[in-house]
Symmetry: D2
Subunit: 354 residues, 4 copies
């Protein structure tokens, strides 16, 4: 007997539904005619909310999804002969089907990483090509916060990268699909990780933190945003009925809903990792700082576990008889789910398939 | 005293809210985890609904917006050295900020038109460049149904274009942002205007007909759709929480909600045009076949009218003292709005600004 | 009996061989190793020669061909959401297989023209979209000098366009594939038509005026050229053995070889036109200001004439029984060729095929 | 006293002049008018010569330079959502300023390599993403022959890669900027390394082997070449006066001039490497199989040597006090140059700067 709903999984925070408060905000906005394309009061209110949170000088633009936010934010910073430096694990490098290259024309230069983070010295090693026309010219460093491995950059680490690139006429871009999780993890404000740390352009994620759709591109240097309206329209990312994106973000930033959702997801990941400490056959492979748990488990245990709570194998060949898996939690993961999953893991690792 | 809500306007069907049945469908789907990116039961059900309506062989993909649907549908049909032939008034030519050119690499060849429609002879005049490498090679004809002028192609007119282009190894693309309005106007099925008329790829609009966001790209020749999943992802148009697009379309195609909405909007346009017949100073300039009314009115009347019911001026310089305006109706336009607007028009044309 | 070499034609100035002085310059440079990619003394000397001719502040870059020069020069001036305004007859619009669109991402906006030239009022009519994100934003006006119809802009006409666009934050680009012919026609310097007339970027043609290959992109505002080295390399237009392009241009600009060649070609076109005055059945259709003659002739005369001196039909359907043809002359067209051709025309128009 | 011409260097085979027989071929072709853009007898003759050498079914197209040949050859094989797999040292990855990404829209996936060559197992490791829309889809493997390290693939090694990729619906592209050197090194025909080894598309280099400009794109599967004329024109690589490219290639392939030039260059590299065997402070770091010698030398020796015979430092930080350098030889490198350079090296390594 299993009282846990069959529809819970640990595959992705994108698999979660929409937070009830977000649905409520949408329903509240569903009255009468307003101008399309963002010329409406809802959008103005949402932008004002961003300025409360990130500082009065930010410029904010709503787009449909994370790839759109990343690609258009980057496009604001580059010319096609530029190169964009990122971790080899970055979403923009591995999971956007070449959209950054196609849309910006730029080369992406991947840096090796064991924890999803990149360091100043790695960036430096790519800069000797500056000024030589045979080589794509590095112009942007893009980091992901929290990283694709569920680790986080401290404000100081971000500031160090920001200072380094700014001193060389370059920009710092942040893919913040899970910025909320990073801030919750560090116990700092969104502003401390962005405005105050020297980020130039941010993709601020909504979809993975309880929204239905929509991401925000935040410019901390307003002069960089001058072209964005045109890039967004030409980049297929201008929503006609913008109010329905805007009110989601307004709700997310109201009464710290973003923080509540992220903190909860992080806590569930922490709980999962804690309960797996010392379980034979299970090895946590990354620091659990946000809402992801990476672990090595026996290959033979995978199918049985996936049937119960679906998740993705990250590395099929972690060792001869082990795979590395990624377990994601979300705002609606319940403690009961986690505990039930832990029991399932223990059982499958021990006697798979029972 | 004016009982009409201040938020009604005649500017665009994009300014309308979301139809209540669409909101309900969204709320119903908001339970539990499902796989992201369209690997879910809601998306399968919506696709099945499209096959009921358009025929069993269609392939359907959901995207975020109309520009995305047009650009990616076209990208499925071309290589960058191709040309796309369309009316000079086509949304893809005038209102997408060059997105088709940027994303496909193709040249758009605009054909002059007085009613928004194009004819076979105009297409033929561009084909003498075929095979000559100095010229972009025509590969697609794109038509808009209903047109940007609110006129419609009959099934025979579409078939004639389809046969012509197919005989020359080319394709017929349809921007169907308002296909529902065209079908309602002609009293024919969606299928009669597409599947049965020889269309190869269709952008089927939702946003202008009561949806929150989302358009569908429909392939009538499945072999043309093989690459679409990759084009969509790289083209920034893959929704993570796909279920929330899918259920909107499922609801739209259920119990002919699409038809009810479109028919109502058309009726309101018809009513507006009928009531303006014979009003001195107002000249209807296009056939009113869908949900748009184009008219010439005195320039001095514009500001007063816009203050009451906003709309856009289409041509600032229709004559020395007249402008051409576009009035759009939508699923939620009420007869009272129209009649009130007609009175306002009569008043402003007569004594502007009172 | 025909003493005229069979290999002469009136099809294109691209069909001519290389001027002997250009060959000599190449042979002279064919000694020893020099650094590739333009870091050599020959390139420096050629650039210095351009500064003598066009003024000390110009920046000059050599590329392979005219399409390359146009596309990369334009790419220096735009972002992908921009529009480029040109005549509907412009080489960039009709004869570059969509290269400008593909490479810049921009829309080209064609202006109707009867003589290949465009006027300020036509440009103005496209500027009402400025600032509206739905429309590609006009940023460049591109003119061709001499035009594709063999007509020329006066310095004043160029200045008027330059002032107009500069006042609106836009740029003036000149496709000067036949700039030499225009300068020869007007009896003015190259500088008078470019530097002094407000042109921002010029494609200065070599291939049509006696060179083997190579065009020069000339920037009159050096700040616009900062990125060009990178655009050129990424744009496939950086020659490894640059010296062989550079010495051709040095020779062309030495002792007014450019002028001598162009003046001769113009004179031959003038002679052809003059001798055809009053010939029944032949109607000159454009002013003969450079090295092209456009004429209407009976359709039945075409094949016979082409067999003798090949040329291209410009418009197959000029009238029921006439075509419009384009006859080009070049630096090596001899008076005897022209006179012989005139006789052939008279004969064919009268009794075709004899 | 130094009788060696000051203009010899070991920096690049691009720094050499044009072979006298190539100049002669150009001069011979410089008579009369011929149709532009390759519709001429010289081009037909050159293509016929390619068919003699590579087999009767090849399709051949001439372009301006190596980057153009690579990018357009690759563009024939891909759609923008594809990935191109290559060595991290590949010219297309490191030295083309991002042109492949910009022009094809594709992602390049670099494989680590110590000798410039890639192996089947490395390719296999990238194919698990096939069919998953989040990832750019591998479609082409591109190898360089001879490699950027002066090493060569055997026919069997090429065949193994070709079979592997063909079995997976992929293509094998070869950057043959120095294919002549590889064939000379292995003592096999050009055909053995391409047609007979399963290559799909080849960039056949001319400029590095004695030509003035020009590369050839060779298709071994003619169906892949159908679009190339359009890609070339739109890709800025269609020469107007094509005859001057064609006759260079015809001469290069006549009486084995390609082989003579390449064999000589290889012999000079071999001589240089042999004479440096056992010289203290000099370590040859790669097999010397073509016309390149890679070596580690003391950093303090570099400046003095460069002043005498210029060359490029490949790796500034090979060790604490050593750099890795690349010395290239060419068709015109003389034995005396090599011996003189060896003496200089010995001297500088011993007593730098004297």
């Amino acid at each position: 007997m299993n009282a846990i709903p069959a529809t819970m999984n640990f595959a992705s925070d994108n698999n979660a539904p929409v937070h009830p408060k977000i649905i409520e905000a949408i329903v509240r906005a569903n009255r009468g005619h307003v101008l399309a394309y963002g010329e409406d009061v809802y959008t103005r209110r949402a932008v004002a909310k961003f300025r409360e949170v990130f500082g009065p000088d930010v410029e904010v633009f709503f787009v449909f999804n994370g790839t759109g936010a990343n690609v258009l934010g980057l496009a604001s910073l580059v010319r096609p002969y530029n190169a964009i430096i990122c971790a080899e694990t970055a979403h923009i490098y591995t999971d956007e089907c070449g959209a950054p290259e196609r849309f910006t024309g730029c080369k992406l230069l991947p840096l090796p990483t064991s924890d999803g983070k990149i360091r100043v010295d790695q960036v430096r090693s790519h800069l000797h090509v500056s000024g030589v026309e045979h080589h794509a010219q590095p112009k942007v460093v893009s980091i992901t916060q929290a990283t694709e491995y569920g680790t986080v950059y401290t404000p100081d680490e971000i500031r160090e990268l920001a200072d380094f690139v700014h001193n060389r006429g370059m920009f710092l871009h942040m893919d913040g699909a899970r910025l909320a999780n990073a801030a919750a993890s560090l116990g700092v404000s969104l502003r401390a990780l962005t405005t105050d740390a020297g980020v130039d352009v941010l993709s601020f994620g909504g979809t993975k933190n309880g929204l239905m759709f929509g991401e925000a591109v935040v410019f901390f240097n307003p002069t960089l945003s001058r072209e964005f309206r045109f890039l967004r329209k030409q980049g297929l990312q201008l929503a006609a009925k913008m109010r329905y994106v805007a009110v989601q973000f307004e709700a997310l930033l109201t009464d710290d809903l973003w923080l509540e959702n992220a903190r909860h997801a992080n806590r569930m990941a922490r709980l999962l990792a804690d309960r797996l400490q010392g379980v034979p056959g299970v090895t946590i492979t990354q620091k659990v700082e946000a809402n992801a748990v990476f672990a090595r488990i026996p290959r033979r245990a995978v199918a049985g576990l996936q049937a119960k709570y679906f998740f993705y194998v990250w590395d099929e060949n972690a060792s001869a008889d082990e795979v590395e898996v990624r377990w994601m939690t979300s705002f609606d993961t319940e403690e009961a789910h986690v505990l039930d999953f832990v029991e399932a893991i223990k059982r499958e690792v021990d006697f798979p398939g029972r």
